[in-house]
């Protein structure tokens, strides 16, 4: 019994590479640009260029490629299922049947659609994985806070929103340990969590969830008091010890991303078939 074992929250791999040294803001913006591009890519050519680019980034950042793909393993079956669904179920008027079996028939447009969404998901996943592997959660929140700052002017409490994330990250492990103890305290009284059907298992959630949530609310009350007594009143008037600095590496990275996205946009606009 060890609940905390599988917690890979912010699977950050510390390093000193070009990618690691980038300002978190640069990495967040770059990731956002890449994600937005991915939402529009529909051609194999663009994906090919994307592959070269991400492979290069993975290489530069010193992430063991096996490790990067590790997180993909658990969702592989669903990924394959998604591809199969598209292959057999997606069709547009005029699509050709390329393969049929029993009542199922696969079409060329189905195949194309299956490939496209699988590639899109794979690349989206790769982009977020690179970001979280090369950036610690703390610098991510720092970067985010800094980036969202201008939105204060339009009334978005950006600092406060980021603070909720900081607290969430801080408490995941604490609550995990607590959950571990609660589960064990109930096991010690004879609850067998691994036995029973759907309904019986659902019933066994209560002796765990009630203490978990009630203790969490108690912790919240204490943390509110502790934060208030440390003069926290929200984001207004707050300063930061750590200031972020954009360096030459960030300029270089920005240039690279710009050129890359220009190329992708060009492909999207001119070469890509409009489905």
């Amino acid at each position: 019994m060890e609940l905390t074992k599988n917690i890979t929250l912010g699977i950050y791999l510390p390093g000193e590479t070009f990618v690691h040294r980038l300002d978190p803001r640069t990495k967040i913006i770059a990731s956002v640009i890449l994600i937005v591009l991915l939402l529009f890519i529909r051609s194999y050519e663009a994906y090919g260029i994307f592959l070269i680019f991400t492979a290069a980034v993975i290489f530069i950042s010193g992430i063991p490629p096996g490790f990067a793909l590790c997180g993909l393993k658990p969702m592989l079956p669903v990924l394959v299922l998604m591809w199969i669904f598209q292959l057999f179920l997606y069709r547009t008027p005029g699509s050709d049947v390329i393969f049929s079996w029993w009542i199922f028939s696969a079409t060329d447009t189905g195949l194309h659609m299956g490939n496209l969404i699988t590639l899109r998901v794979l690349f989206l996943f790769t982009v977020t994985t690179i970001l979280t592997l090369t950036t610690s959660m703390v610098s991510l929140t720092d970067g985010l806070e800094n980036l969202l700052k201008p939105l204060r002017k339009i009334g978005l409490p950006s600092q406060e929103l980021v603070m909720t994330m900081v607290i969430a990250l801080r408490f995941v492990l604490i609550l995990a340990e607590e959950l571990d103890k609660i589960v064990k305290a109930q096991m010690a009284r004879g609850v067998a969590f691994d036995r029973g059907n759907f309904l019986q298992k659902t019933k066994k959630i209560f002796p765990v969830f009630l203490p978990l949530f009630i203790n969490a609310f108690k912790r919240a009350e204490e943390l509110i008091i502790a934060m208030e007594s440390r003069s926290y009143t929200g984001g207004k008037g707050r300063t930061k010890m750590k200031t972020l600095h954009l360096g030459r590496v960030d300029l270089a990275a920005g240039l690279l991303i710009f050129l890359f996205s220009a190329l992708i946009v060009f492909i999207i606009v001119s070469i890509q078939p409009q489905i």
Binding site: K5, K181, K184, A185, R189, G190, A192, P211
Partner: protein, 288 residues
């Protein structure tokens, strides 16, 4: 119901880059009716070790045998084993969840498959054992209990399963002196009157010295000492080096010895200290 631990190792997050060894080659036998204290600094492995005793952890290396059954055995009935080896956690809030005290105490027996009068009997008995008045507290909301009452309710919830071995994991932390004395009284009585084996994990050297007959000292996952309470506390310097301390009476006795008086080694209780010091004062300094 003896517990036997042979060559037990344990590590957290096994198979990940964050793997951390927490228990090394633990060998230990606990006999029926013992009152054994487990002490050690935080993260020395006390809780991890104790959770092997009732199969909350299953050994991957080494063996834990409880009453003849190997906990790692796939056919072992762990649910029954856990009823026989009760575990009370430090924080009663981890355990209490039902709306009333009575319902929460009945939770364990109900998991054992008991019903009706037997449950009522068990609840009444357990409440008596911990000194919670049946009439007053049976229908009391668990969230309306004081800290000391909560702890007693939590102990009752485990006692209602009729354990032969009771593991108490730092259950007096945060209690005031009176609340602590009440809980200690309950535990002492359980051990004396029902002959329940008690495994008492604590950060308070005074409590352990007062209650336990035998002490196991853990230091970074290894058993540093295992012996009678008196033996253990005669290793003052080593205990200090591990990050533990002596009970306060013993500190005083030590200082008194430094004055040149002769005192028996390892004085455990205040009464012993008073007697020993007065005898020594009558006899005068050895150095004189």
């Amino acid at each position: 119901m003896p517990i036997e631990v042979n060559g037990l190792f344990h590590s957290y997050k096994k198979g990940t880059p964050f793997e951390k060894e927490v228990l090394f080659d633990i060998n230990l036998t606990i006999d029926d009716g013992e009152f054994i204290g487990i002490i050690g600094p935080t993260q020395s492995g006390k809780t991890t070790l104790a959770q092997h005793f009732n199969a909350l952890f299953i050994p991957r290396q080494g063996r834990v045998i409880v009453n003849g059954a190997n906990t790692a055995d796939k056919t072992a009935d762990l649910v029954t084993l856990r009823h026989n080896v009760g575990y009370v956690f430090q924080n009663p809030d981890y355990q209490l969840f039902a709306p009333t005290v009575g319902e929460d105490i009945a939770f364990g027996p109900r998991n054992q498959g008991l019903a009706g009068e037997e449950i009522e009997h068990r609840v009444r008995e357990a409440m008596e054992q911990v000194g919670l008045d049946y009439g007053t507290f049976l229908g009391r909301d668990i969230y309306a209990l004081s800290g000391g009452q909560k702890r007693r309710a939590a102990i009752a919830g485990v006692l209602a399963c009729h354990p032969r071995i009771l593991i108490l994991d730092d259950i007096t932390a945060g209690l005031d002196p009176r609340g602590r004395d009440e809980i200690l009284g309950v535990i002492r009585k359980l051990h004396r009157e029902q002959n329940i084996t008690i495994i008492y994990i604590s950060n308070s050297m005074d409590e352990v010295a007062e209650l336990a007959e035998r002490i196991v000292v853990l230091d970074r996952g290894r058993i540093a000492f295992d012996g009678t309470t008196r033996e253990i506390f005669s290793h003052a310097e080593q205990l200090y080096a591990i990050g533990l301390e002596l009970p306060e009476v013993m500190v005083i006795a030590d200082r008194f010895r430094e004055l040149g008086y002769s005192l028996p080694p390892a004085i455990l209780s205040l009464e012993e200290a008073v007697d020993a010091i007065s005898t020594a004062l009558h006899e005068g300094r050895v150095a004189d």
